[in-house]
Symmetry: C2
Subunit: 307 residues, 2 copies
């Protein structure tokens, strides 16, 4: 059984959408990635940090999903990372209302001994130096996937570049790909980013799907057209978790298999956005997931001969 | 051989993009639709109107592409419809700089006798009353496709609704679908628009592809990721021309075949945007078209079993 090591935030979120608002609820990149990857029969562990205010029930939830949390440090007297944001009416854009780094500001990640030999490593969105520290602790991974965002490009670009140099796959959104590369065309952007290190570039376009690039090869997976998007929080992390979870489960990192991984990631993300926070991801069953995979297939596969 | 009747503008365009600008060049919805549909072995005709200033060479170009122009009225002393616009840097949005209706303001379309029995009818984007007049002149079409835009929704909504009521397929862009339906979700928007008349709704999302809806069935075709988009003018019309041209050529209006038609339309549109105006569409050969169809296939088709 493949081991998947996930580093990222485990946090409190408070979310406002046009449909309602939440108090502090469970959030964080590593949480979404972990819950998404938990849909596969793999051995995963999260490296993160929380404060003493973090409810046991949330940690239990991760454990119940077979996620090892030995690497989640609980800081006595500390407060958990907190983010709050408000989505605009189209749900494509949001304003950050508040960010409290709290215990995250001094986070020194410690990879549990049993996971130093993890074959699959997911560097969730956080400070590049934390991501680098995790890379320095792992032995000989088969595949390292990096997720990041414009905040680190704006503020810690040199550190971020050192991470990018060392990963196999990078997942970023279209605007971030343009920022990082200085190219408007996503085809050109992906090529420039490949030159920075990663063999594979995944560009996330939200409701418009995701593109996978490797050299001249391109694969595209749409997002499932949904009647309602309720809360987009965590969709990107859920996508990444499904992507690497599927790769770890199949233990196959070919381009061909990555196509399926992209579809799997998109599929799981389509559930994530149906409820606030992680709520929907806590109640997924295999039958629902498979039904929607069939919908994905119908959405893009054509049998007729048109050439 | 199926007959395809196209009504729409045959016009002058002057275009500015970040890459350059043109003087008055050949443009117009019917022109793009006709040149795109000309990639199929069908019998097509254009109903339109131009002024005495319209060059013979442009009319010859249409004829050379086997497009019957008996229905193109040439108004002695009249001036041809003229549009000029400037694209923004991202090429997704544009400002109209000038619109001169000229001969178009008194256009009374006359369908040539030989095409009153056309099986396929493409109502290109122009005044809904002109579209209605064409519908009144044709006998018993197998498929009528309507293209329209927000301008008619803003200014002549009641007339437009009368057209929508009578067509089989409507093609509009995502923002227009939202405006017409009052729904933000494209799934809900398509359902509401179906209730207005069309059995099929095609929602164009530009660089993000196109969606085909019929009841609960959805098919999605991506746009081909391109290194450069040079000039988006006419891309939507080229898409529509490829869509109905393929349907007319195969004479098969099932949902399954419409999937291929959508791919064909997207494929031809991907060529259109590579040069200014109609330039690229004048020099297409079958081999290029087929090579790119294979690229489309690679872009979205996956063989692995993922359920």
């Amino acid at each position: 059984m493949s081991k998947l090591l996930i580093v990222g935030t485990v946090a409190f979120d408070a979310i406002e959408t046009p449909f309602g608002k939440t108090d502090k609820i469970l959030g964080g990149a590593a949480t979404y990635i972990g819950l998404s990857a938990a849909n596969f029969n793999i051995d995963s562990a999260v490296v993160s940090i929380v404060g003493e205010d973090f409810p046991d029930s949330y940690l239990e939830l991760l454990k119940k999903n077979n996620i090892n949390i030995d690497g989640v440090e609980i800081v006595k007297g500390g407060k958990t990372f907190f983010w709050s944001g408000r989505y605009h009416n189209d749900l494509n854009t949001r304003d950050t209302l508040e960010t409290q780094l709290n215990v995250l500001s001094d986070f020194q990640p410690l990879v549990p001994k049993d996971y130093k030999n993890a074959e699959y490593v997911m560097l969730g969105n956080l400070h590049p130096l934390v991501q680098l520290s995790v890379l320095d602790q792992i032995e000989d991974p088969k595949l390292v996937v990096l997720d990041t965002m414009n905040f680190w490009m704006d503020n810690t670009l040199e550190d971020l570049k050192k991470v990018i140099e060392r990963v196999d796959v990078i997942t970023i959104n279209d605007e971030e790909a343009r920022q990082l590369s200085g190219e408007h065309s996503l085809v050109k952007a992906a090529r420039k980013i490949e030159e920075m290190g990663p063999k594979y570039v995944v560009i996330k376009k939200g409701e418009h799907g995701a593109l996978l690039f490797r050299g001249d090869q391109i694969f595209f997976a749409p997002a499932l057209p949904l009647e309602e998007v309720f809360d987009p929080t965590g969709a990107g992390d859920t996508f990444a978790g499904g992507f690497i979870g599927y790769l770890a489960y199949t233990n196959d990192v070919t381009f061909e298999n990555m196509k399926s991984a992209i579809i799997y990631g998109s599929n799981l993300a389509s559930f994530c956005v149906e409820k606030f926070g992680t709520e929907r991801m806590q109640k997924l069953d295999r039958k629902q997931v498979n039904e929607r995979l069939a919908e994905f297939r119908k959405l893009t596969q054509y049998q007729t001969h048109i050439d």
